[in-house]
């Protein structure tokens, strides 16, 4: 069956058993692959109520039917598990080259279960799979561990996925890193790897991936590549500036969260913008597997070259911490990459701590590092390092802003949804984006439905960002389509140029099948509802579909969105209705029957 290897790898780290199993092709079709299929398998194999660090929890590394194909930007894979940060389903996405390599080794996905009694790593050379000792790599930073593992593999073409010390220490903000700099960043997936004593997965594959219909593939790819080349964002905007060029747009729109969302306009944003990054620190542009967009950026500071910082990272450490020192932001980003930390949650947690410190909630004598003052370059760099190392008060920060603020009795100061820190857009000035934050199945996240695209960037059409009208419809449509793209194994950035029918055509040509746009979007809706059911079974109830009270009650104090709050109470019932859920936000039996996921 083209598009799929039809093989999955199951590794039990408790027993050392390694099994190669056939993939159920009916299920693969029903849940597409990647995010969708892995969510189904996780839902079947674990009780969603378990402790995420229980050895029974699975961590699944899943490609999609288009991962590694000739489709543009097909380097994506998903890490799916139960999140130790949010208690929800976690599905963190990453690019680079690791996903396609796994596919060429002959596996659609890897299910890791159990727990090793000592540090280990998984070595995959086509069909030869071994669990190897990782004592000498434990404690190593991401770049050093990657280099050492490549040396042991004796194959420079091998691809390395690894956790840093943050994951080893079960830091709830820990990411999974691959190809040194690419991150499956969110939801603490790195800590689940750490809980299983699994340091890395090294993959080398030499197989080929033939499309179902070569002629149709050539034809559809010619068409989609043309669209990507003709689209201003994918052919000029992202290649020229990378994601960091968003800094000034979002700031000038007045939705650039500043000093832990106390403001939404950062006076000196331009000093920490994509324009200045390109002028002073950019070394080169980089692309993931098969990507014509090439939005990646390598920057250099203190003689060290590293990837990023991306837009979200720039925001988390600059405006959100009140810092306008770009060099410090790059250094903080580098610590996150080396220790394996989610840059959004790490920066946002420091911002929360800064507000608590300035309000006298965290006392100076409690902390063993630089004063947590807004605007402090020293604080963002040193506290990032200490969080990564889980050292002193840094270990407390590394549990995320919600647990920090809750411990001090001020959970409302955590700018998070379902305990996952919000990203770089203030929803008070983008109502659809706020609804998407509140309803995202993994919590405060921008890439489950990027409403900023129509509400700010004008793509595919310009919506009034303050209006509530029609936003529930847009949010559902974006969430369902995004679930499809994530499950196919393609990069979400292709959607600036492509529509649902383009994904349908690529899937039919490369993987074979008779998908229509409707059946594909139905699959997206099926995946969304499956994730919702997982969360409900995990005890994350509809009451958690909310935003921090600051965003609902405190009008933005200054800037171009001054005076606005978010109107979630009006939008949420519309959204539940649009989804076919009951008034309490529970998917109805009829809806689940319709989607065939009873």
């Amino acid at each position: 069956m083209a598009g799929y290897c039809v093989r999955l790898l199951r590794v039990n780290l408790s027993t050392g058993e390694i099994n190669k199993e056939n993939l159920d092709t009916v299920l693969a079709k029903k849940f597409v692959g990647g995010r969708g299929l892995a969510t189904y398998l996780l839902s079947q194999e674990i009780d969603p109520g378990i402790d995420p660090f229980d050895s029974a929890n699975r961590i699944i590394f899943a490609t999609g039917p288009l991962t590694g194909s000739r489709a543009p930007a097909s380097g994506r894979y998903m890490v799916v598990t139960k999140s130790p940060l949010s208690g929800t389903i976690a599905s963190s996405n990453s690019g680079g080259f690791w996903g396609p390599e796994l596919k060429r080794a002959g596996f659609d996905l890897i299910i890791i279960q159990g727990k090793s009694d000592k540090p280990c790593y998984l070595s995959i050379k086509n069909s030869i799979v071994e669990i190897k000792d990782a004592e000498k790599y434990w404690g190593k930073l991401v770049s050093e561990a990657t280099d050492m593992l490549l040396e042991e593999a004796q194959d420079p073409k091998a691809r390395v996925l690894v956790i840093g010390p943050a994951g080893e220490k079960l830091t709830l903000l820990a990411s999974v890193m691959n190809d040194k700099y690419r991150a499956a960043g969110r939801s603490g997936v790195g800590a689940v790897m750490g809980s299983k004593n699994l340091k890395a997965i090294v993959v080398r594959g030499t197989g080929t991936l033939a499309p179902a219909n070569l002629d149709a593939t050539k034809e559809v790819l010619k068409e989609v590549r043309k669209k990507i080349q003709e689209n201003e964002v994918t052919s000029k905007g992202l290649p020229t500036y990378g994601t960091s060029v968003l800094v000034n747009v979002i700031n000038e729109t007045g939705i650039y969260p500043t000093r832990n969302f106390q403001q939404a306009y950062f006076e000196t944003a331009d000093k920490v913008s994509g324009e200045v990054l390109a002028e002073k620190y950019l070394v080169r542009n980089v692309a993931c597997f098969g990507c014509p967009i090439a939005c990646g950026r390598h920057s250099s500071i203190d003689g060290v070259e590293c990837e990023g910082p991306e837009y979200e990272t720039l925001w988390a450490y600059s405006a959100n911490c009140g810092v306008d020192d770009l060099a410090a932001v790059i250094r903080a980003n580098n610590w996150c990459n080396e220790y394996g930390l989610d840059t959004i949650s790490a920066g946002a947690t420091i911002a929360c701590a800064m507000e608590m410190y300035e309000k006298g909630i965290i006392k100076p004598d409690e902390i063993d590092g630089p004063p947590l003052k807004f605007g402090s370059s020293e604080a963002i760099v040193e506290w990032s390092r200490k969080m990564g190392a889980a050292e002193g008060f840094g270990a407390k920060l590394a549990l995320g802003s919600y647990r920090l603020a809750e411990e001090y009795g001020v959970p409302e100061l955590s700018m998070s949804v379902k305990k996952l820190e919000l990203p770089a857009y203030d929803p008070r000035g983008a109502q659809g984006q706020g609804l998407q934050y509140a309803t995202s199945n993994r919590g405060g996240c921008h890439v489950r439905g990027y409403l900023i695209s129509p509400e700010v960037l004008g793509l595919p059409e310009q919506l009034d960002r303050f209006s509530l009208e029609g936003k529930a419809v847009w949010v559902k449509a974006f969430q369902d389509l995004t679930a499809v793209i994530d499950s196919l194994g393609l990069c979400l950035f292709t959607s600036f140029a492509l529509g649902a029918h383009d994904y349908r055509d690529m899937l039919n040509a490369i993987a074979g099948g008779d998908w229509t746009t409707d059946t594909l979007l139905d699959a997206g809706e099926r995946i969304w509802n499956l994730e919702r059911i997982f969360n409900l079974k995990a005890g994350v109830l509809p009451e958690a579909d909310k935003l921090p009270s600051r965003l609902l009650e405190e009008p933005i104090p200054d800037g171009p969105s001054k005076g606005h709050v978010h109107h979630l109470a009006e939008l949420l019932p519309q959204y539940y209705k649009e989804r076919g859920w009951d008034e309490q936000g529970i998917p109805s039996g009829a809806k689940l029957s319709q989607l065939d996921i009873v």
């Binding site: 201003e232 905007g237 500036y241 950035f493 171009p560």
Partner: protein, 74 residues
């Protein structure tokens, strides 16, 4: 009337970052773009006081006009 103009990304090359400019009272955004020699088709996002605007919109005294090429990210 005086209008504040902010340029971003490639529009800064050979021009400026921010500048105040004088326009006659009934001028539209279009006149501003012509003065700056920026073609409408090059403009991705055009904000007047932080709100989405089009070339035909009239300018008002002390407006802040921000001009970006097409861009995306996240």
């Amino acid at each position: 009337m005086v209008v504040e103009i902010k340029l971003f990304a490639t529009f800064r090359k050979g021009r400026f970052k921010t500048r105040e400019m004088e326009f006659s009272d009934d001028s539209s955004v279009d006149a501003l773009l012509k003065r700056l020699e920026i073609a409408q088709k090059e403009v991705g996002i055009l904000l007047v006081n932080g709100r989405y605007a089009s070339a035909t919109d009239k300018l008002a005294p002390h407006d802040v006009v921000s001009i970006f090429p097409s861009l995306g990210g996240g």
